[in-house]
């Protein structure tokens, strides 16, 4: 992060991480507020609590109301756990074994193909728009880690 001088996010080293219970408190508060707002969206335009919470936390970080050191440790911990937290969802497929037995092979094959299609079509489209930015609008599209 130090390599990028123009980076506007505050350096983490400036502050000691907030106590973990405070970080949990911020997460809990954002989730609770999101859960109160989420039902206000119409059934035809669902915005689930975690998606809304992601947006709220991002806005709070951009507005510098919540500082990175106040949520960073908890966030990194949770992101690192996601593969494990997804195990129950995987095991949930036990309940869908019947669907899979009926026309399973076809459905699974299509899902595998669609997964690859989504990854590749989004990535290639982005490469296309980046190319247009670079060659038509002469913008610098170089990004650094």
């Amino acid at each position: 992060m130090a390599s990028n001088a123009k980076n506007e996010t505050p350096a983490t080293e400036e502050h000691e991480a907030a106590p973990i219970l405070q970080q949990m408190g911020i997460f809990g508060a954002i989730l609770f507020v999101s859960s109160l707002i989420s039902p206000l969206f119409p059934a035809t335009f669902p915005v689930p609590t975690p998606v809304l919470g992601l947006v709220i936390l991002y806005v709070l970080l951009c507005a510098k109301i919540v500082k990175l050191y106040q949520v960073e440790k908890m966030a990194d911990f949770l992101v690192g756990l996601i593969a494990f937290l997804f195990v129950p969802s995987g095991i949930q497929l036990t309940a869908s074994l019947d669907i899979m037995k009926e026309s399973g092979v076809q459905i699974v094959a299509v899902v595998v193909l669609v997964t690859i299609i989504m990854l590749v079509s989004i990535a290639y489209t982005t490469a296309g728009f980046m190319w247009i930015s670079r060659h038509v609008f002469h913008r610098d599209t170089h990004v650094e880690e």
């Binding site: 915005v47 998606v51 995987g90 989504m118 982005t126």
Partner: protein, 260 residues
């Protein structure tokens, strides 16, 4: 004494208090054990892609439940709901805070977001439309009927959006939920291979957006491992693509004659 005496049965109520008889201990323990076995296999298998901990955990977990259900003489679905689900649900809940945690990797590379927000939004929109057409094409090729095809259209969104939208366009929400789960497992297992094969390395913005779209939260976690730009882009993709699915898919399904 039956298995329910020890593992609990969430589908039965205590005759006195009316509370569920479910117990969370078995579900949490089983999830941890199968995932740790997955991690161990991944380590000794020198990173062989089928030994990804999430994939191994899922397959082993399902196998254990199916074998136990057979042993106790109940159906696998029943045993899953009665014995595993209470514990599984507790772990599943933590996907809520884990999803909002993606605001942090997103914010860390706010410089990239600010520079390329237009390219990001356009790429996600156009890329999604392209993938929707290809999805219909592939579904037709495999001879899937309209109900199953409709269930396939919303899988780029996070499950909580994909399911109700699929239901609204005449899809089967159980198939959509299964598709979303498989997306994540497939991306987590194959991300590195796919990135190499399709040469997505050159453009970290595109790779990140693709991983977030195709692999949801799990794909984003994978993108965070690949680099800060990929992680940030995958996080923004999860939000924006979900909203596009909300907005675009009902009209698209009508246009394609999948739903009237």
């Amino acid at each position: 004494m039956t298995w329910a005496t020890f593992l609990g049965n969430a589908l039965e109520k205590n005759p006195v208090t009316g509370a569920s008889m479910g117990q969370a201990f078995f579900g949490i323990f089983l999830s941890l054990v199968v995932f740790l076995i997955g991690q161990w296999l991944f380590k000794i298998g020198k990173g062989f892609f089928l030994f990804q901990p999430l994939f191994v955990g899922m397959v082993l977990g399902i196998a254990v439940l199916v074998v136990m259900a057979k042993w106790f003489g109940v159906s696998a679905t029943y045993f899953y709901q009665a014995a595993y689900k209470p514990g599984g649900d507790i772990l599943f809940w933590f996907l809520n805070p884990a999803t909002i945690a993606f605001a942090v990797p997103l914010y860390r590379r706010n410089d990239v977001v600010k520079r390329f927000w237009l390219e990001i939004v356009l790429s996600l929109f156009v890329g999604l439309i392209i993938s929707l057409f290809l999805t219909v094409g592939v579904s037709r090729l495999f001879g899937l009927n309209n109900v199953v095809t409709a269930s396939m259209l919303t899988q780029a969104a996070t499950t909580a959006i994909a399911m109700p939208v699929a239901g609204a366009i005449g899809g089967n929400t159980a198939i959509t939920a299964m598709a979303c789960i498989l997306n994540a497992v497939i991306i987590y297992a194959l991300a590195s291979i796919l990135i190499k094969f399709f040469r997505l390395n050159a453009d970290p913005v595109g790779a990140g957006l693709g991983l977030g779209t195709a692999g949801h939260a799990v794909g984003t976690a994978k993108a965070v491992q690949l680099g800060s730009i990929q992680g940030s882009m995958a996080s923004i993709a999860v939000v924006v693509i979900s909203i596009f699915i909300d907005l675009v898919v009902p009209t698209f399904a009508r246009m394609m004659g999948i739903f009237h």
